[in-house]
Amino acid sequence: MARRIAIVEDEDAIRDNYAAAFRREGYDVDAYAARGPALQAFDVRLPDLVVIDVNLRDDVEGGFELCRELRSRAAELPIIFLTARDSEFDAVSGLRLGADDYLTKDISLPHLMARVAALFRRLDALKQPQSKEHRIRRGELEIDTDRMRILWRDRPVGLTLTEFWLVHAMARYPGHVKNRQQLMDAAQAVLDDNTITSHVKRIRRKFIAIDPDFDAIETVYGMGYRWLAD
């Protein structure tokens, strides 16, 4: 049975384009232009993944509201923000509300499809028994590529998908400097330098929250970042 994706987007052309792309990938798509109709439909049936625009025409923060309500109904429901608002503040707000990813509309359709697929893969992996094959271990770090989870000293670090890919890209070859372009490619996102900087900063903060002595990510001035081997 095909997975059902709900798109809440006020811009008809974009909504239709995304819907077409998802359908091409074999998903069932429900498209909504506003928060109200979307919530009514979700009362009847929850989709498997929701793509929300933050700015829903006159409902400026409507996407955030929708995210909050959905998260209260279904804790596990994957939610992706897809918006033109690229400010750091909005991204942080969206992720705090429990969104699994915050993407700007710069993202290309193939990248979007890959993200969605990855999210579904993670959902599937969580339902499967753990298999050791899809695990990478680097000292205290453990990367579960199936569930897209990262553990530091056996404690899970709550990373978003983008952050996961960034850590994954750095930690796969410890000691190698990854420049920003490489990190962008790894995260399958078009991000500018500052966004990478903010992401790395957030990642560090999340690790430090678990382990105050964390310093495995090194900034290489003028080049990029690298994961330090033990």
Binding site: E11, A13, I14, N17, Y18, A20, A21, R24, A84, R85, D86, S87, E88, F89, T104, K105, D106, S108, L109, P110, V190, D192, D193, N194, T195, T197, S198, K201, T219, V220, Y221, G222, M223
Partner: protein
Amino acid sequence: MTLKRQLLLVSLLTLVLPWAGYRFIHETESALRTGQQQMLAGTARAIADSLAKYPEEFPAASSSGRRVSDQIYGHALEARPEIDGYIDDWTIDRAALQTMRGVDGPVRFALGIFDQAVYLYVEVTDRHIVYAQPEAPPSGDDVGNGGRFSDGIQLVSSNPPYLENRFTFTAEAPGPIITHVETANGSTPEPTIHAQWQDVPGGYQVEARIPATLLGTHLGVVVFNTADDSQAPVRSSSFTGATPGAFVRSSPELTGIAANLVQPGMRLIVTDAAGWRIAQSGKLTPPDTGGSGIRSAWPRIIYDALVESGEEASLAEPDASGLEQQGYIVAALNGSESAGWFRSNESGTAVVAVAQPIRVRQHVVGAVILQQGTDAILSLTNEGLSRLINVTLIATILVAVTLLGYATWLSRRIRRLSVAAERALDGDQLRVRLPSAGSRDEVGDLSRSFSSVLQRLGDYNDYLRSLASKLSHELRTPLAIVTSSLENLEHEPLNEASASYAARARDGADRLRRILTAMSEASRVEELMQNVEPERLDLAAALAAAVAAYRDVYPDRRFVLATDLDTAPMRGSPELLIQMLDKLVDNAVDFSAAGDTVTVRLDRNDGRLLLAVENPGPSLPGRMRSQLFDSMVSMRPGSDSRHLGLGLYVARLIAEGHRGRIDASNIEGGVAVVVSLPGDNNGE
């Protein structure tokens, strides 16, 4: 002209004060003087009326018609002169001598009266004195006898209409001489007359004492001058016509009356119809030469300007010759009451004088002259003047100082305002509270208008700054429509031509996306700056690493890191600082040619770190220097879509976020961008 100078000029208006004071004192002074004059005139009128009761005391009235110059005045002497042929011991001035023409030059003479005796003094200019022969006493009309002539003087006395007596003074030698009286009966020596002849260079002089009883009412002086004793002498006399003029003398009667009428501090002079002084009494109060007189230089000048100048004060004195010739007296003798005003600048003496005609049966027989010093007025004006000067001085200084202080305060407010406005403009902090904003005066208005102008300017600047990010934000949605449509299109069957068009459209959309990303970078950096948690870092080490990286990134440029510093500790965000350096290096690379050397320099100056990026290349045009670091200002030639003039703006945001300054300047053969950052000296 500064405000201060303008107000100082305005303060000159206080000079009206002394002018007004001057007018006031001037008016007061002249009112007082007029009052005094009128009072004097009243007194003089009363005196004139009372003197009119003594018409016999004005003898000149009877001899009117004769010339005044024929008359001889008998000065009242105050001491008995010694008969020695000199006038030195007479109590009159030499100016009192009457003059007549002589053969060899002027003849001067005077008559005095003391104690029932008449004194005669004559000085004759004579080039060759001819003495009389001892055995031949003079006789007849001429001075000389038997064909022998000599120089000599005759005093002609008459009691019209009676015959006259002649007293002849000749000398056989200088010294005491014998006087002969010549009557119809012949010439006889007169022993009661004492006379002395003195030779002096250029002539001789004779002094004689004659008992008053020997003389009549009319007197004349005659001088004979001969070249030698064989020639008849030339005669010159003090009178014209056959008979001598009246002998005018002061009247003891009138003098007595005058002494009773005169008040202290006043001088009373009575003249006859010709103006001869026939009575005088009283003295003017001598001017107080002590305190009240103004002696120092500059108040004197003001004082002289203040008090109406009169005739010279010495002119108010009784005329030495006995004949009062002052205009106001002459006017009185012509029948009209008149007044005079005398003032001496040197002594400060000031005299008010009035002259009043004395009329007997409608005829003017003489005049009363009453004079009074004006010490009272003077001291009043003096006091007024010094007060005026003081008050004016204090007022002027007070006003000037006040205005100056006010001007200083005002101009300082305005200057502070303009400095604050300048600073706000320079520092790009347009939301400051300007000084004087709370004042309710015009400066406050000015400050508030300035504030609102700055506010609007700030709003506009903010608008410009946010324009890029707003624009990119607004354009992102339509761009997403385009890109997503194109990506969907790729999955549709297309013929070759359509596919190539779609590919081109994709390229264009990609470029558009990159531009939008660049445009929003500035606002991203601003957000980052607000959330940045400064950490300690070593800028020197960071630069070393970064410069090494640039060598790989830009293989066709050479990079030199020029620094003497081993460590350069500071606080900040290393990522952002490196991003700033990226922008500067990117800029430097763009403006230099392949093979050029880009120099990254780090120095420490006064606790601040100076980071410079230098590149060879074209220099900056002066007018763009200050705008170089503004949003969307690019100096790249042509249009390069990768650059929207945001790179240096981002660099500036980062520098200012680290409390630093960024500046660009031309160096020899190139351009240097210098960032000054605060160092962290607490470390190590």
